[in-house]
């Protein structure tokens, strides 16, 4: 028995750059004449898919020689930076466009969700749009009718089902659209970032539904997302694309680690020059779980300060605050001379603070640093908004749902029966 759901053999995709104009017409005609007379295909000048290279060529390989197999029942994530070829691969797999070279073999009924609510007509009612969108996605009318109640209930739009969707709130619109897609009955499902819709509650509901589809129903799912959190929640294997080529195929955790080790070019340390001040913070750097300043929730987090002083500072103190993306302070940690001799001589000093388990909610964070004397009475230096880093909740087995608005930080704790 054939256990392969999708087999991709040597798939490449070439794109033409620039705009269509009389110049392209001229080139097209030239090429056609060449092909006609010489019977050989003129090889176009094609460059690799790497935006950092400046190249004169007119064509670019968005994907180059992609080979992989997906077994039935696998839940596969496709990750990669913007422009790595994720969307192109999805488009080829879902037959939106054909590859320039190579073949894709598919075993089973396939459906793709590159968008929710494709073909929704604003003037039609919710009910009419369920039938329209369902049939666009390839469902039969009888199939839609049998699932109608489920869809309406999942979307939670019972009251509005006979109202044109143009009167829907955007949340209702998206919920209805997702509900239809979630009830598609296929063997293979291709999903592109559709989860990035709706409020937190609905997103959780969607993730739950995705889990149900992939784990309980045993469907083959291909999932493309920038959201590493949902990738790690949903998938067991990943394909890492880089510049149109496959960089890695394998376990999700390994793929994610590889993905982050690829983005080394971001500078997230703070540096300053010493100009004979009494005190100067020369360098602040953070050490995160992954490279490229990505921190795992509950992972070790370290921050290092290098400070130069021209004389001992009286009762010195240092502190740093971690702010979230809306500039709300979440964590404040300090060190004073009373706890440990601190800046009590002139010279260059390096201090490191380690947080054994940084339990921050996923998101972007940055740091403010304060150095003071006289037990904090007199601020010597303030550095704001440095060392940005991102917290991911990778592979966390959550027994409860940690919502963004329920709390920002989890403290370590022990429960005891007394």
């Amino acid at each position: 028995m054939n256990n392969i759901a999708i087999k991709v053999e040597g798939v490449s995709k070439k794109y033409r750059l620039g705009v269509v104009s009389s110049v392209t017409l001229k080139k097209d005609i030239k090429k056609a004449i060449h092909n006609f007379f010489f019977k050989t295909k003129k090889i176009d000048d094609v460059s690799e898919n790497d935006r950092s290279l400046s190249d004169e060529s007119e064509y670019v390989w968005s994907l180059k020689d992609i080979n992989f197999e997906i077994e039935k029942g696998d839940v596969i994530g496709i990750i990669g930076k913007n422009g790595a070829g994720k969307s192109t691969l999805l488009k080829i797999l879902s037959q939106i466009t054909a590859p320039t070279e190579g073949k894709v073999k598919i075993n089973g009924k396939i459906a793709s969700l590159l968008e929710v609510g494709t073909g929704f007509h604003p003037e039609l009612t919710g009910l009419q749009n369920i039938y329209l969108n369902g049939s666009i996605l390839g469902m039969r009318k009888s199939e839609i009718t049998s699932k109608l109640n489920e869809i309406i209930e999942f979307a939670g739009v019972q009251r509005y089902i006979d109202t044109p969707v143009k009167r829907y709130s955007s949340g209702m619109y998206v919920r209805l659209a997702f509900a239809i897609a979630a009830h598609l009955d296929t063997d293979i499902l291709i999903i592109d970032e559709v989860l990035a819709v709706g409020d937190a509650e609905f997103q959780n509901k969607c993730i739950g539904k995705m889990n149900e589809i992939s784990k309980k129903d045993g469907k083959t799912v291909l999932f493309v997302s920038h959201n590493i959190n949902s990738i790690s929640n949903l998938t067991n294997k990943c394909i890492l694309l880089e510049n149109g080529k496959i960089n890695f195929v394998g376990k999700t955790e390994e793929a994610i680690a590889k993905y982050y080790s690829k983005n080394k070019n971001i500078v997230n340390t703070y540096n300053a020059e010493y100009n004979n001040e009494r005190l100067k913070v020369l360098n602040v750097e953070i050490v995160t779980t992954y490279t490229s300043f990505t921190q795992a929730c509950e992972g070790i987090f370290k921050i290092r300060f290098t400070i130069q002083t021209s004389e001992p500072i009286n009762n010195a103190g240092i502190s740093f605050q971690i702010f979230n993306n809306i500039d709300a302070p979440i964590v404040h940690i300090s060190l004073f001379n009373s706890e440990q001799p601190f800046l009590s001589s002139s010279g260059v000093h390096t201090y490191e603070c380690e947080i054994p388990k940084l339990r921050l909610f996923m998101g972007d964070y940055k740091i403010n640093v304060y150095v003071a004397e006289n037990s904090g009475q007199n601020l010597l230096e303030v550095i704001e908004g440095i060392c940005p880093f991102n917290v991911k909740m990778i592979n966390k087995h959550r027994d409860y749902d940690w919502q963004a608005n329920s709390c920002a930080y989890l403290e370590e704790f022990n429960w005891k029966k007394t």
């Binding site: 054939n2 392969i4 087999k7 794109y15 033409r16 269509v20 392209t24 017409l25 488009k91 080829i92 797999l93 879902s94 037959q95 939106i96 466009t97 054909a98 590859p99 320039t100 070279e101 190579g102 073949k103 894709v104 073999k105 598919i106 075993n107 089973g108 009924k109 396939i110 793709s112 590159l114 968008e115 494709t118 073909g119 007509h121 003037e123 039609l124 009419q128 039938y131 329209l132 049939s135 666009i136 996605l137 390839g138 469902m139 039969r140 009318k141 044109p164």
Partner: protein, 282 residues
């Protein structure tokens, strides 16, 4: 893996032969065709009070304008039959052609948002469009029949057995417009210039067809050129069948049949060649 070569339910590959048109796939999507037809018909008169009556209003208004401008003022002959029925006979099928042609030639551009997100046989919106326009046309046809019966009772026109050819004439119009439309839509994917020409082309074609004038009033010098127009035999034969004016143009119908089948064939091949990768250029 070589042994279970035939186990794959679908193979997506770079090259596809030109005759490999997926007709079975179209049948699998017949529910989509009916959904799209319903969308076309329902959405157009949403939030109007008269609803489908508006389908009738446009052509009636056109006919009264023509009657006033071309018959009453310009005194263009109407082959001895009442002007309103003469113009209606001309415009009903012509409007059908025009609507189908316009929509078919915009298939790729107007459906790019759909085609870019979901796969289904790309010909489906065109098939749905042909049918929904047919339904709109039949509504107008009913009005035309009312006119015909009125004038028939006045013994000013003579409907004859040729009215049985109506389905054939409609089918020819559908094939012709789809053929033309598919060619334009395929060619305009890359070079949009063609779209700019459509309006001019449609106007020219209308005046080259016996819609506001009878074929009998065309000077004999021009007649050979006019007979190249595949629309003319359809309009002439339709008008003869329902009013008795002019003649049923057997040779012309034969010419139109061959011409339109050729156009459809050519259009389908072009469309098929373009549909796989048009989304990269559109």
């Amino acid at each position: 893996m070589g042994s279970n070569k035939n186990n794959w339910s679908k193979v997506i590959s770079a090259k596809r032969s030109w005759w490999d048109i997926d007709l079975k796939g179209v049948l699998n999507y017949k529910d989509l065709i009916s959904s799209l037809i319903r969308r076309d018909l329902v959405s157009i008169y949403k939030q109007t009070i008269l609803g489908p009556v508006w389908f009738l209003f446009g052509p009636l208004f056109t006919v009264f304008t023509y009657t006033f401008a071309f018959s009453t003022i310009a005194k263009i002959p109407t082959d001895g039959i009442p002007a309103p029925v003469f113009y209606l006979a001309g415009t009903i099928l012509w409007n059908y052609f025009q609507a189908c042609f316009n929509q078919a030639s915009g298939t790729f551009i107007n459906n790019a948002h759909l085609f870019g997100k979901v796969y289904f046989p790309r010909i489906i919106p065109s098939i749905a469009m042909i049918i929904s326009n047919l339904l709109k046309m039949l509504l107008q046809f009913i009005v035309f029949i009312v006119f015909c019966i009125y004038y028939q009772n006045q013994e000013m026109i003579s409907m004859n057995i040729y009215i049985l050819s109506f389905p054939l004439l409609v089918l020819l119009m559908a094939i012709l417009s789809l053929g033309f439309g598919l060619i334009i839509s395929s060619l305009s994917v890359k070079y949009r210039d063609l779209n700019q020409l459509i309006g001019v082309f449609i106007t020219l074609l209308m005046y080259a067809s016996p819609i506001i004038y009878p074929s009998s009033s065309v000077p004999s010098v021009l007649k050979p050129y006019l007979s190249l127009n595949p629309i003319a035999p359809i309009i002439n034969s339709f008008r003869y069948a329902f009013t008795g004016a002019g003649a049923f143009d057997w040779w012309g119908i034969l010419y139109t049949t061959i011409f339109s089948l050729f156009m459809l064939f050519f259009g389908l091949i072009l469309f098929h060649k373009v549909e796989k990768t048009f989304i990269d250029t559109i």
